[in-house]
């Protein structure tokens, strides 16, 4: 599966990319990384990712709006929201827009691997 990482933090982008080296995730290939929703949509149009990790609080375009637009274009895209916004309403909003999973920051490597595996298996 082709993965696009969307987060305004270089630290998080780098961390998610590094976790992909876990052998349990060897069917996921990193396609690209974006720093905000606008960049993500551009990359999405070019490369059609099957899997996306999506931050919510980002400049230019936030993750909720980006999720909605991405799902409009690619309804089968599997979007995992990774956000520090830990209120239930935000998670529900993301899921309503078409995200398939939600992972709260801070997260461990195992948390992210489990979230990827769950998303892939579903």
């Amino acid at each position: 599966m082709k993965l696009l990482i969307v987060d305004d933090s270089a630290l998080i982008r780098s961390r998610v990319a590094r976790i992909l080296s876990d052998p349990r995730l060897n069917n996921i290939q990193l396609l690209g990384m974006a720093r905000n929703g606008k960049e993500a949509l551009m990359l999405c149009m070019q490369h059609m990712p099957e899997l996306v990790t999506m931050d919510i609080t980002m400049p230019e375009m936030d993750g909720i709006e980006c999720t909605e637009k991405m799902i409009e274009i690619f309804p089968d895209c599997n979007i995992l929201v990774i956000s520090a916004l830990s209120d239930k309403a935000t998670a529900l909003k993301a899921l309503k827009k078409g995200a398939r999973g939600f992972l709260y920051k801070p997260f461990s490597d195992e948390d992210l691997i489990a979230a990827f595996l769950e998303l892939i298996s579903s």
Partner: protein
């Protein structure tokens, strides 16, 4: 701080503790939160990041830490890049995580901005926050950092 009580402040204490425990697998020592006014230790370190609130809240939440602490955290995370930009980014991510986690307590009407991060002089925070701000001092290993909560309810 209008409409903010001690329980609200402890939400931030919990968020800071949770962040450090997740990254370091160690408990951090949290000094009791205190008001910034009066003769208190400096709460500003090398790099400071802040989140601006809107919605039913106004004000800012600051996270300030020395470069050495952020570098150590990056080492623990397995990060190869530990340059100035990455240290700034890390301070911003910590401020974002602490503020975002606080929404579990305050709800979605506490809207948070993307982080702004900068290098800061030792007394910088005292010049920009209100005297009624709460300071949460964090001690992990030999390092000290701070979270300063300068927020009000507007609704």
């Amino acid at each position: 701080m209008k409409g903010i009580n001690e329980k609200d402040i402890y939400t931030f204490v919990d968020a800071v503790s949770a962040f450090f425990f997740q990254v370091t697998e160690e408990k951090v020592e949290i000094k009791t939160a205190y008001l910034l006014e009066g003769d208190v230790p400096s709460a500003t370190f090398d790099l400071t990041s802040y989140i601006t609130l809107s919605g039913d809240f106004s004000g800012r939440i600051y996270f300030s830490a020395p470069r050495s602490m952020l570098t150590h955290l990056l080492l623990l995370m397995g990060e190869q890049i530990r340059d100035n930009d990455r240290l700034l980014d890390t301070a911003g991510e910590i401020a974002n995580t602490i503020s975002g986690n606080a929404r579990r307590h305050f709800g979605e009407t506490m809207e948070i901005s993307v982080p702004t991060t900068q290098a800061t002089d030792p007394d910088w925070l005292k010049t920009v926050v209100s005297p009624q701000s709460y300071v949460i001092l964090v001690k992990w290993k030999q390092y000290r950092a701070s979270v300063v909560v300068d927020i009000q309810r507007t609704a």
